[in-house]
């Protein structure tokens, strides 16, 4: 039971964004997608979600081609938090989260939907802002309200006894402070623990190493590596893909997971600044 990309290629005009990508996101697992800016991470997630159609290859959800599924059917199987979430209109936070139920909400009483929305707002730490207008929230609060909207879609499907869906998150912690970064990723892990699949694009390699079961490294439109965190997060990867210096990979004393401390680069920049 997977979300699978098979030999997927995606072009926009003359430009090849992704080339011959084959990988699968499993249920019960958190897969973090990492890579430099412009590598094709968000494009990979868009193709996996069905937002864009590949120019070559197939995207399969539980064995069925995503391209052949109706938007309504697909909405019960996966939800995605994109980076573009500006809402037009002066919606209240609770209203916006309820709207996340979308087409899947048909047949569900509005009171039940509101109760689910309130529960999710509680989970993302915005319970007290449920009655506020979206446009009055800070960037980080808006991002978490949108996460609640996306989780609402999966909760409604779950309430209808459908199998746990896939949660696709594109840079969900980019506007969060450290405590809320942990909260957001904890929610993603909880979804995986309840049998759902999670694919999350992250720029913070340490969070990726800390929370993921699998790491996908995307570089120049190709999958450079796809394996466990320990197998992927190596000194060689840090140097060749992310341009970091030797000795930046360490092992966490408690978890044993690798983490990156790019002190050399910071030191070098500090010296440059001091000498200038």
């Amino acid at each position: 039971m997977t979300l699978e990309l098979r030999n997927v290629t995606w072009r926009r005009g003359e430009r090849e964004i992704l080339r011959d990508v084959t990988l699968s996101f499993g249920r019960g697992l958190v897969t973090a997608i990492i890579g430099p800016n412009g590598a094709g991470k968000s494009s990979l997630l868009r193709l996996a979600s069905g937002l864009s159609r590949p120019t070559g290859g197939d995207v399969l959800l539980d064995g069925q081609p995503v391209a052949a599924m109706s938007p309504r059917h697909l909405a019960t199987r996966r939800a995605m938090l994109t980076q573009e979430n500006e809402t037009a209109g002066q919606f209240l936070v609770r209203q916006m989260v309820v709207m996340g139920a979308g087409m899947s909400a048909r047949g569900m009483a509005i009171d039940r939907q509101v109760a689910l929305a309130d529960m999710l707002l509680q989970q993302v730490g915005l319970a007290q802002l449920a009655g506020r207008q979206m446009m009055t929230l800070s960037g980080g609060e808006r991002q978490r309200a949108n996460l609640a909207r996306v989780l609402m879609q999966l909760e409604v499907a779950r309430a209808k006894d459908l199998p746990a869906g896939f949660l696709l998150l594109d840079e969900p912690i980019s506007a969060q402070d450290p405590a809320h970064q942990a909260l957001v990723l904890q929610l993603a892990c909880q979804h995986a623990a309840r049998g759902g699949g999670v694919a999350v694009v992250l720029h913070d390699l340490n969070w990726a190493a800390a929370c993921a079961d699998r790491l996908v490294v995307v570089h120049q439109g190709r999958v450079h590596a796809y394996d466990t965190v320990e197998a992927v997060m190596t000194q060689d990867l840090a140097c060749s893909i992310f341009g970091l210096k030797d000795g930046c990979i360490h092992l966490h004393a408690k978890t044993g997971r690798p983490f990156i401390l790019p002190h050399d680069n910071i030191g070098r920049k500090a010296n440059i600044r001091a000498s200038s």
Partner: protein, 340 residues
């Protein structure tokens, strides 16, 4: 949530009462001293003038004003939801300008066309309807590539198309005779003076289609406010929503513009006024806009035919006179919100 429901109930109750009152005042007021109470006479005892004025002159005119106001306000609401732009207006989609061009063609060149004599009094409305649908169809085809319609391309092409058809209308006006020019000028300013039960019956099917489409589009238009991608992700068929929205706008705007002329500001101002009171939910904004549009246009028409009585001011002039300050106020308000 309970507070929101009770606010909605209050809003619709208020609008219903206002609509009824406006219609009664419109029926009671006019150049001829015929009053509503005359209808209370037992059947058969009403004189012919009363029946003529109330049933055949003011009656269709009020129904026409209500239908037009509702249709234009609904078209404006749909346009603003679809374009995610609070200042979008049915005129932006090229419907009004295409209808104006087609109407100008018929008024100025039509006397030499055989089919124009066959259609008789329906020539101008039919030309306007065909023109508006053709204009919107052209824009839709232009903005659609590979099954995906670009709303931005449609908006920009609509503005360009409006300017181009305005220029063509200008050329036609340049070669028009005095009578044709007078007809065209009167049509351009909009008026319900030609409303009859027959013209109402021509408009009704289009308004019903637009109303049915708007009912189906209310929830999807809410999702479109999240942006197109998010609407698709939560299960809405975005491309179908766009094409149905465009069809609804064409059905609501084309025939009304063709029958009563270009009436500005209702489409852009009414949805705003409703949103101020009821929030952004299209399931409330669409029906409430229809009611408020009907109220405002019926009221404007009553003013148009009574302010300079027995002469009539074109209703487009009244809506523009009332609408312009309201529009400027909205612009200033949205600017203040953007800055703060």
């Amino acid at each position: 949530m309970t507070r929101e429901i009770s606010r909605t109930v209050w809003l619709f109750s208020l609008l219903s009462v206002l609509l009824l009152l406006t219609m009664l005042v419109a029926l009671d007021t006019g150049a001829t001293t015929v009053h509503l109470r005359d209808l209370w006479h037992p059947a058969g005892t009403q004189d012919q003038a009363t029946r003529l004025v109330l049933r055949d002159i003011r009656g269709p005119r009020i129904v026409m004003a209500c239908l037009t106001g509702a249709a234009l306000a609904v078209a404006g609401t749909i346009m603003q939801g679809l374009f995610r732009n609070p200042l979008a207006d049915p005129g932006l989609a090229g419907v009004s300008s295409a209808a104006a061009l087609a109407t100008a063609c018929v008024i100025i060149l039509g006397s030499s066309w055989q089919w124009a004599t066959w259609l008789g009094m329906w020539t101008i409305p039919c030309a306007g309807i065909v023109g508006s649908f053709a204009g919107m169809g052209l824009l839709y085809l232009f903005a659609t590539r590979g099954g995906v319609t670009s709303i931005t391309a449609m908006l920009l092409a609509g503005v360009a198309f409006g300017a181009f058809s305005g220029a063509l209308t200008g050329i036609l006006i340049f070669r028009a005779n005095d009578a044709a020019l007078r007809d065209l000028t009167f049509w351009t300013m909009g008026s319900f003076s030609g409303a009859t039960w027959r013209s109402v019956s021509l408009l009704v099917p289009f308004v019903l289609i637009a109303g049915a489409l708007a009912t189906c589009l209310a929830a999807p238009l809410n999702a479109m406010l999240l942006n197109e991608h998010n609407a698709l992700l939560i299960g809405y068929p975005v491309e179908r929503i766009k094409s149905l929205s465009i069809l609804a706008v064409a059905c609501a705007t084309g025939p009304t513009v063709s029958l009563v002329g270009a009436i500005g500001f209702v489409g852009v101002v009414v949805p705003h006024l409703v949103r101020l009171a009821a929030g952004p939910d299209h399931r409330i904004v669409l029906p409430a806009s229809a009611m408020l549009g009907a109220i405002l246009l019926t009221g404007a028409d009553t003013m148009a035919r009574t302010l300079a009585s027995p002469a009539e001011i074109p209703v487009g002039v009244v809506t523009a006179l009332l609408g312009t300050p309201a529009f400027v106020w909205l612009l200033a308000r949205s600017h203040r919100t953007d800055v703060s």
